[in-house]
Structure formats: structure tokens, C-alpha cells
């Protein structure tokens, strides 16, 4: 293994584990009925929503080559399918992958 790649992996995993570990350390003193727990619950959901929205609107990696319009269109249609199929998770996700590939192939 090249030393640079190996060091990058180790540094990345440490930077990732710190947040997980500190989260567990803090959890020791927090009760699930406390206000601070409810606040953190809101923070977690909001942060996830922020991350996912950012992934779609300002993507990195393969998605950044897809047009803004195609990304929004696929999200809207997939959410529509999610509600029409009574909140089934499989149909909208499979649909999104196929739709994204097709839209970018043909338009």
C-alpha cells in the first residue's frame, strides 16, 4: 500500500470516529426524557436533512455532472411515487436510479 493513501485513510477514519466517540461520551450523562435529548434529536434530523438537500443541490462526485433541473425533477417524481405507493421505499429509490441514468443519457 502506498504510504500516502494509507495515512489518508487513517486520518479520515480518526476524524470520523472522533464525532462518534464524543457523542457516546456525552450520552452517558443525558437521559432520554430530558430536554437536551429532544434538542439533540431535532439537531440530528435537521443536520441530516441539510446534508441530503446539499448532496442533491450542490453535489460532489458523479452527481455533479447531472444538470440541476434533472436532479430536482428526479427528486420530485420519486417523492410523488413514495406517496402514491403508500410510503414504499423500494419503488422510488429504484425509479430514481433508472430515471437519472435515462434522463442524462437522452437529454
Amino acid at each position: 500500500m502506498s504510504i500516502n493513501i494509507l495515512l489518508s485513510i487513517i486520518v479520515t477514519s480518526l476524524a470520523t470516529y472522533i464525532s462518534r466517540f464524543l457523542g457516546v461520551l456525552s450520552s452517558v450523562r443525558i437521559k432520554e426524557t430530558s430536554k437536551i435529548f429532544h434538542w439533540f434529536n431535532c439537531l440530528a434530523y435537521a443536520t441530516l436533512a441539510a446534508l441530503i438537500a446539499r448532496t442533491v443541490i450542490f453535489p460532489v462526485g458523479a452527481l455533479s455532472d447531472a444538470s440541476y433541473l434533472s436532479r430536482i425533477l428526479v427528486v420530485m417524481l420519486s417523492l410523488g411515487i413514495f406517496f402514491v405507493t403508500k410510503k414504499n421505499f423500494v419503488y422510488p429509490t429504484v425509479f430514481s436510479a433508472v430515471a437519472m441514468s435515462l434522463i442524462n443519457n437522452y437529454f
Binding site: 502506498s2 489518508s8 486520518v11 479520515t12 464525532s19 435529548f37 435537521a46 462526485g61
Partner: protein, 234 residues
């Protein structure tokens, strides 16, 4: 030690119809292909998913390596993008902490915190007795973690056969799945507002600071939602 029955009950949760296995697998296939393209060998690719196990972190690492960033800047960039794992841990582990369980289980199993396992645990923990929840969690985590590692291997070897359009399809699958999961979790005022406001403020703050957008957006959206929810209950 770990109760086998609970462990396997957690492990099997990825076989359910609402399982994240497909979405999770597809995005790690994309990661496997990406790692191969930037020059990782198969061992390095497997190691990176095993040790990091957080998609945005892996993406940031890959981009940083491509531009030749220093180790310190990789550390800071990854820490920022994965800091969301802190509130995720704090909003999950108090549900499982029980005096009867040894501490090492919590410190080791926190490695499994990722959106997929977190959402499964959040929607199932009430069906499990508190003292058994950590064993159930270790089962879920081991399953999602295994899917990620296997998918990385698949992606690495499939990379020559995946064209740009297919990679795009794989890349959109993950945010779509998690959007559906989050929308499905909108059952209280606090959670619903958190998801909606977070989804608006996250991208909005990107215009001011790309690095801080997720954390700031999450912090402000979550705090507003918490206060409005509390006021409503009172």
C-alpha cells in the same frame, strides 16, 4: 457478552422490505468505483470503507487526495463534514445505555453510526427492552457495515463496466432513499419541522460558507424546530 437472538434480529432488519441495503449497497458500489479510479488498490479500498464507514467522509478524502491536500487539511475537512455524527450519537445512545451493559459495547459500536443504521434503530428501538437494545444495534450495524464493505469490493471490480450515466443513477439513489426515510419519520411537529427547515437552510447557507453550511443549517433549523415544538406542547 452479546445476546445472539437480539444480534440476529438486528442483523435481519436489512432483509425487510424497507431495508436500506439496496441504497447503501449502490452508493458504496459508486465509492468502490471512485476509489479505483483515483488509484486505490483493492486492499486500500476495503480498508477505507471498513475504517471510515461514512460516505461524505470518503468523498471528501477522495477529492482531497486528487487535489493533493495535506493530511491536516484532510483531517479538518472530514471532521467538518462528518460532525453530524455527534448529534446523531447523542440522540441515539441515551436510548440504549443501560447499567447492566459493559461500556466497551458502546465505544466500539458507535463506529456503526451512519444514516442507514441510525434510521432503522430510531424506528425500531421501542420494540426492544432497553437493556437489550445495544445488542440489537450491534446486529443492525454489523449488517449495514458488511453491505458497505461487500459493495465497495463489487464497485472496485465493476468500475470498468460502469459508465458515467450509470454512476449518476447510483449516486442519486442514496439521497432519494434517505429523503423518503426522513419524510417517513415526520410524525411529530419537532421532527417534521427539523427535516423541512434543515432541508431549506442547509443549501441556503452553502452560499455563505460551503464548509459550515451543514452544521450551521442543522444547528439553526434544529434549534428553531425544538423551540417551536416545546412551545406547542406547553
Amino acid at each position: 457478552m452479546i445476546k445472539k437472538e437480539l444480534f440476529f434480529r438486528g442483523f435481519k432488519s436489512i432483509l425487510k422490505p424497507d431495508s436500506p441495503a439496496i441504497a447503501l449497497g449502490c452508493c458504496f458500489i459508486a465509492i468502490g468505483a471512485l476509489l479505483k479510479n483515483i488509484g486505490f488498490n483493492i486492499q486500500e479500498s476495503i480498508f477505507s470503507t471498513m475504517l471510515i464507514y461514512a460516505l461524505p467522509g470518503s468523498l471528501v478524502m477522495a477529492e482531497s487526495i486528487l487535489v493533493g491536500a495535506s493530511l491536516l487539511s484532510i483531517f479538518i475537512a472530514v471532521w467538518f463534514v462528518n460532525a453530524r455524527l455527534y448529534p446523531m450519537a447523542v440522540s441515539l445512545f441515551p436510548l440504549m445505555m443501560d447499567e447492566s451493559q459493559p461500556k466497551w459495547k458502546f465505544y466500539l459500536s458507535c463506529h456503526f453510526i451512519a444514516v442507514s443504521a441510525w434510521l432503522i434503530m430510531k424506528s425500531n428501538y421501542e420494540t426492544i427492552e432497553k437493556k437489550d437494545r445495544v445488542d440489537f444495534w450491534i446486529g443492525i450495524g454489523s449488517a449495514t457495515w458488511s453491505v458497505a464493505v461487500i459493495a465497495t469490493i463489487l464497485g472496485f471490480y465493476l468500475s470498468d463496466y460502469l459508465n458515467k450515466d450509470m454512476l449518476m443513477g447510483l449516486a442519486i439513489l442514496n439521497p432519494i432513499y434517505f429523503t423518503c426515510m426522513l419524510v417517513g419519520a415526520m410524525k411529530t411537529i419537532q421532527v417534521s419541522l427539523s427535516v423541512i427547515l434543515g432541508g431549506i437552510l442547509g443549501p441556503l447557507f452553502y452560499f455563505f460558507s460551503p464548509e459550515w453550511s451543514i452544521l450551521l443549517g442543522g444547528l439553526i433549523a434544529g434549534s428553531i424546530s425544538y423551540l417551536i415544538g416545546e412551545k406547542n406542547v406547553n
